[in-house]
């Protein structure tokens, strides 16, 4: 037995458990954050399903034959079907129908469907191998989250069930995606969604790492000055105190930027290993589908990231001013990680538009949500959302920067901790003596 181990262990546990920073940062925050994320996720899944059920299924019947009636009757067993007859589909009509029926997808029973089904039904094995009746599926793609493929998979399930009742492989579904108001034939929105999902989680993860990493750098940098007592020397030099703050922020941005670049290169390679695994038949060219940001989109994304980064760094500087050393600064920074992690994890999987109003406001109120929201918005060309986000985060950044500059301009940068001690003594008479 190790002599003294038990005694030492008890001391260690007492020290760690009694440290409020560790208690809050390592125990309470995860206990709140992850259940909260779970609630958001399950609510979103539930609301996506409810929304799908409520919207029902829109069917455009351009066939009018017996088999079309049969399949509509079958679909009616599991969903509330609305039928529109004999409609020529083009971009404009498709969008009008979706808007009218508050739907995100619909099926078209094309002309000749019943004839093909009859041939299939009456034919021999050779005919069965060549003739198929095809339904057309149209789904809107908005890049809004993991539940976007729900409609496509629901139809797949229904047709699979229908085929089992009638004849295996009798009905086939040809899928098209409606991207930015334009029908793209042969593009399955579900596969597109999966592909975009693999890519879209990259941005939240990158932003999450970039923000946390740079906040750590900024906080450590200020705390190191305090710990080594170099800050006191700096503050008595004939230099503008705002220059100290800006120097700290710029240095942190530079180092974090290099880190983020290295991370993005590595992550891009990692993501590439997934997309190359997608079957060749389903490979999609995102550029030709217009699903990559334009130059203006990239510019907006860059600005959004920059202002969010600046506010995060200024916040880190303010928080670290309350720490006496590097360790305390890093613990204190942990308090604001939920503000980064929650929107990052939530927006990685969810469409912010399906969240309840309170949650939606919460996510929009967190400044670090906006680079992620912007990264999606610029892909689908929603520049207004991106711009409004930038305006909001810039306003927040100005407030935080002002607070940080005030902190550096006064003695608070040195005495913040002392004032906390003072507050605990509030109510007592002044005592004399201080080094």
């Amino acid at each position: 037995m190790l002599k003294g181990f038990g005694n030492f262990l008890v001391k260690e546990l007492k020290e760690l458990i009694r440290d409020p920073k560790i208690l809050l940062g390592m125990i309470i925050v995860p206990l709140i954050m992850f259940p909260m994320l779970g609630v958001i996720m399950s609510y979103s899944m539930q609301s996506a399903q409810e929304q799908a059920a409520k919207a029902g299924l829109l069917v455009v019947n351009n066939d009018g034959g017996n088999w079309s009636e049969t399949i509509i009757a079958y679909l009616n067993l599991t969903a509330k079907v609305s039928v529109v007859n004999n409609t020529d589909l083009d971009n404009e009509v498709a969008l009008q129908l979706l808007s009218e029926y508050n739907a995100t997808y619909f099926i078209e029973i094309p002309s000749g469907f019943s004839a093909n089904m009859t041939d299939y039904d009456n034919g021999n094995e050779t005919i069965k191998a060549t003739v198929k009746a095809t339904l057309n599926f149209y789904g809107v793609f908005s890049g809004s989250g993991m539940f976007e493929s729900l409609g496509s998979s629901t139809i797949d399930d229904s047709i699979y069930g229908f085929n089992r009742h009638v004849a295996p492989d009798a009905v086939d579904v040809a899928k098209s995606a409606i991207i930015k108001g334009e029908i793209k034939k042969g593009v399955d929105p579900a596969i597109l969604s999966s592909l975009m999902f693999l890519q879209s989680i990259g941005m939240p993860i990158t932003i999450m790492i970039l923000l946390t990493y740079s906040m750590q750098i900024a906080a450590t940098s200020v705390a190191m000055e305090k710990e080594e007592k170099t800050l006191e020397t700096l503050l008595t030099l004939p230099m503008d105190r705002l220059a100290i703050l800006m120097g700290k922020l710029s240095g942190s941005i530079f180092v974090a930027g290099i880190g983020a670049l290295a991370y993005m290169i590595g992550f891009n390679y990692y993501m590439g290993s997934f997309t190359t695994g997608i079957p060749a038949g389903t490979a999609l060219d995102l550029v030709s589908l217009g699903l990559v940001p334009s130059l203006f989109g990239y510019l907006l994304l860059g600005i959004s990231l920059f202002v969010a980064l600046l506010s995060a760094l200024a916040l880190a500087v303010i928080i670290s001013a309350f720490a006496e050393d590097v360790r305390s600064a890093q613990s204190l920074i942990g308090y604001i990680y939920p503000l980064i992690f929650i929107p990052s994890f939530a927006l990685m999987f969810l469409d912010i538009n399906v969240l309840p109003l309170a949650l939606k406001i919460l996510i929009y109120a967190i400044p670090y949500s906006h680079p992620i929201i912007t990264s999606r918005a610029v892909i689908i060309g929603d520049y207004w959302t991106a711009t409004l986000g930038i305006i909001y985060v810039t306003a927040f950044t100005i407030v935080v920067m002002y607070a940080a500059s005030r902190l550096f301009a006064t003695e608070k940068i040195l005495t913040a901790k002392l004032k906390f001690k003072g507050l605990r003594r509030r109510g007592k008479k002044p005592v004399e003596g201080f080094q």
Partner: protein, 243 residues
């Protein structure tokens, strides 16, 4: 008598804690003035107020007639401050650190080079100045920092415990440098120490600080005679009623 520093009813509170209580003091030009007292007496707080780091709660402090609150930026041009147990930037070499600091007080490259060269001599660290400061011993680091505080020949050097924690050799070197600079370059020094014997040999005048108040002030010899004591330690003990 030219006045370098003037404390007028200086009071400093931290919340409910009164660190300095109505301090009045005058320090003359080219004087080495020591504030001495035990830990917690308020020495560092007083030096921090003079060096513009902390704001007085009430009263005023003037440095060469400049108000430390109203004219803080001007005051910073004529002072240097050496905090107690200050460090240097760990990943800079001693030479780089001195260059970095020199650039704040001068513009020209030649002047920076001159100042740093002189500072290098003050440190006595020789080739070790090329090493990163994280490899320095406490004594080496303190010599570097004292050199930094004196190299640009400030009108006022504020030194908080300049020889704290140093061995005899390093402490002797630092004291020697301080004395030499005052004589050669018209520098006024305000320093603090809890080592009363050291201060007795270094300072022209001293103020004894206890619980934020000045309890005695004068030349070391005068104080010893006044209180019939062999050294300042005994003077302090008598003043605060310990002896």
């Amino acid at each position: 008598m030219d006045i370098a520093i003037e404390l007028i009813d200086l009071t400093k509170d931290f919340g409910t804690l009164r660190a300095l209580n109505r301090l009045n003091l005058k320090v003359s030009f080219r004087e080495i003035f020591g504030i001495i007292g035990p830990n917690g007496a308020g020495k560092t707080t007083a030096l921090r107020v003079v060096s513009t780091l902390l704001l007085p709660t009430s009263g005023a402090v003037k440095v060469f007639s400049l108000d430390v609150v109203r004219d803080a930026a001007e005051v910073r041009k004529v002072i240097t401050y050496l905090p107690e147990e200050a460090g240097a930037y760990r990943n800079l070499s001693g030479w780089e650190y001195l260059e970095f600091m020199a650039k704040f007080s001068t513009k020209g490259k030649d002047e920076v080079r001159e100042i740093v060269k002189e500072a290098a001599e003050i440190t006595g660290l020789g080739e070790r100045l090329k090493d990163r400061t994280k490899a320095y011993s406490k004594g080496m680091k303190r010599r570097l920092l004292v050199a930094r505080a004196l190299m640009n020949k400030p009108k006022l050097a504020i030194l908080d415990e300049p020889t704290s924690g140093l061995d005899v050799l390093h402490a002797y070197h630092v004291r020697d440098v301080i004395k030499r600079y005052v004589q050669e370059h018209d520098v006024t020094v305000l320093l603090s120490s809890h080592n009363m014997l050291e201060v007795e040999h270094l300072c022209d005048r001293v103020a004894l600080l206890n619980k934020g108040q000045i309890v005695a002030e004068g030349k070391p010899q005068e104080l010893k005679e006044k209180f019939g004591s062999a050294n300042l330690e005994e003077v302090f003990a008598k003043v605060v009623g310990l002896a």
